[in-house]
Symmetry: D3
């Protein structure tokens, strides 16, 4: 019996979409107001989807407490109340778009999750915009 | 023209995650506060997804009234304001985790839905935790 | 500068609306399916509103961490994953309706909150039903 | 690196589910109160999912401003504050069910979106009912 | 012990904001796209707030089933899947703005609710716009 | 006929809670992780409540388009995708807590709203924390 479990998480962070090797004009043309050099920020929401076989005795796919702890320790505690551009090695040369942030979170969680599980991450930057990795089609 | 229709439903129920053949200590270690023998409860929310071919004349995949009635009669009326562990044969030897409850609901709906439709059930136990059967990947 | 701050909280609990000195028929007639003797349950959500003067130096009405800790320690930890009827002295002779539960939570918080603050509690039993104490008019 | 981006949109419109060549009785029997000849209406919400390869330099799948403009210009501006049955050629002989409307929106967006992207549209007619094209299974 | 209880309700209806004695230009200038003579529509959501004294024996302010039935019978059944301008005497000479509709619903409910209760109605026309009668200040 | 109208708005901004004349230790002790000198950020949501007399001819309290434009021009366009601490005169010597930001928004809107209307502003910093000015009690 193969099932998926979905756990929400969130963190609040500052970022800007800005490529230092580009002119300010090009940054503005491509990234719009997200390129403001003084930063802006978001309440990021996540849905982490883990798929696999249910344990027939406990009726659980994964202990939710363990999943919550992995998300809390490696993602929420890492990024909450932080500046993505300034404080993280992984965004030194990578623009912290929702796409790149979502993929980065997926990689972090993938490392701490047993290989027997499939993993997908959906990340909301605002109520109207979100991304999913891997792609749904 | 193949499409999916998604209908929400909900019910409020009591349950506990508890395996009688285990010691109270082991139940607590595995299920945490969900193992409280006095029960706790949830407002369960569902999304029932039905997929198939749209009727070219009516423009409908399935009459929504029929789908609502099937969900209402066989799932909501069955479980609403009930104790999952105490009042149902199906949970006599099956721990009513979100995973097992979701699969049980899927089996009930599968029985009452025409074979020409594909079926998927997502079940929220809280706003932060949900499961989907069949697995999304 | 007088302002109000609103903090959300939640807990999941089992209860029943049942007056032991009444017949089962009368309980059913008054409380409907909420009278099921085997219990049912809810995901309770709260909004705790605290009103008072903002500190001109810090720009804060109350330290949100303190407010969150009071709600967590005295309400969420108390009622989460519990059976309201069976496990609490305060509901031995008091039906745990949303009204009585909301007022009980208000009394608990009132005791642990500085007298200089006004206090109001809104409690959702389901997404469609909630109560507020004190009354809004 | 293949990812999906999801953008919300909405519009408010009137419609009725009514096949003119049928009797009023047959319309009522099939479409229920949705067949009221005087029309009713909805706040339609959409989630438009676009999938493809992320640009390694900008970290973007598609410029969100472009996606928002396509949805705004070709779907929201077209249908917002309109009567689907009376004012649109595409619904002269097609019942504006959620299914047909969702598919119609998908076709409009498909035309204005680069072929390199995959596309999916979810449409909510009410908070409880939604459809997705293409089907999820 | 005075408390307030809040019950949600909803209905889906068509309307237009249009004063027949005005020119089409003036209607457009004042009501914008809401003046489209072919109608548009909304999913209307309500919160009905009833205030009064809790019954010390039952712990209830009002039987929620009774409140739900009053809202269902006199408001939801009346307006759901209807055209506000065309099908109701009360909007023959009254523009069905959110303000007028909210006040009309308040008057209907006031008539069917015991005088011992205070009453307030909040009505959402869209997720972003709502009105409350009586005014909150 | 006195009524209230409530319009939602939102903006995304970076901020930190930090008093420059205090030591970093004191800032951390009082403001916790909100004191991170590199900033963090939020999706701020607002509900702007305007109260007054409905125009008997149009059935409107205030033209919603005008209210939306005032909120858009003077609040959303001002603060969206900005750094509250670095880019605004009003927060040079005022900590941009939710309380101070809410009051500042209220003052801005008060200036651009006709004196015949009463005004209240609710501001969400996260889904769990919000403030209202003026105080509700």
């Amino acid at each position: 019996m193969r099932i998926s479990i979905i756990r929400k998480g969130h963190f609040n962070a500052a970022h800007k979409l800005y490529i230092p090797s580009w002119s300010e004009e090009k940054n503005l043309a491509v990234f719009g107001k997200c390129a403001n050099p003084h930063y802006h920020g978001h309440n990021y929401n996540m849905e982490v989807t883990v798929s696999g076989e249910v344990d027939p005795e406990t009726g659980m796919l994964i202990n939710l407490k363990d999943l919550r702890d992995i998300i809390g320790k490696y993602v929420e505690d890492r990024y909450d109340h932080r500046n993505l551009n300034e404080e993280f090695e992984e965004f030194k040369d990578l623009v912290p778009t929702a796409e790149n942030l979502c993929y980065t979170i997926w990689k972090i969680l993938r490392e701490h999750l047993d290989d027997k599980y499939d993993l997908s991450v959906r990340l909301w930057e605002t109520e109207r915009n979100s991304v999913v990795y891997p792609a749904v089609s």
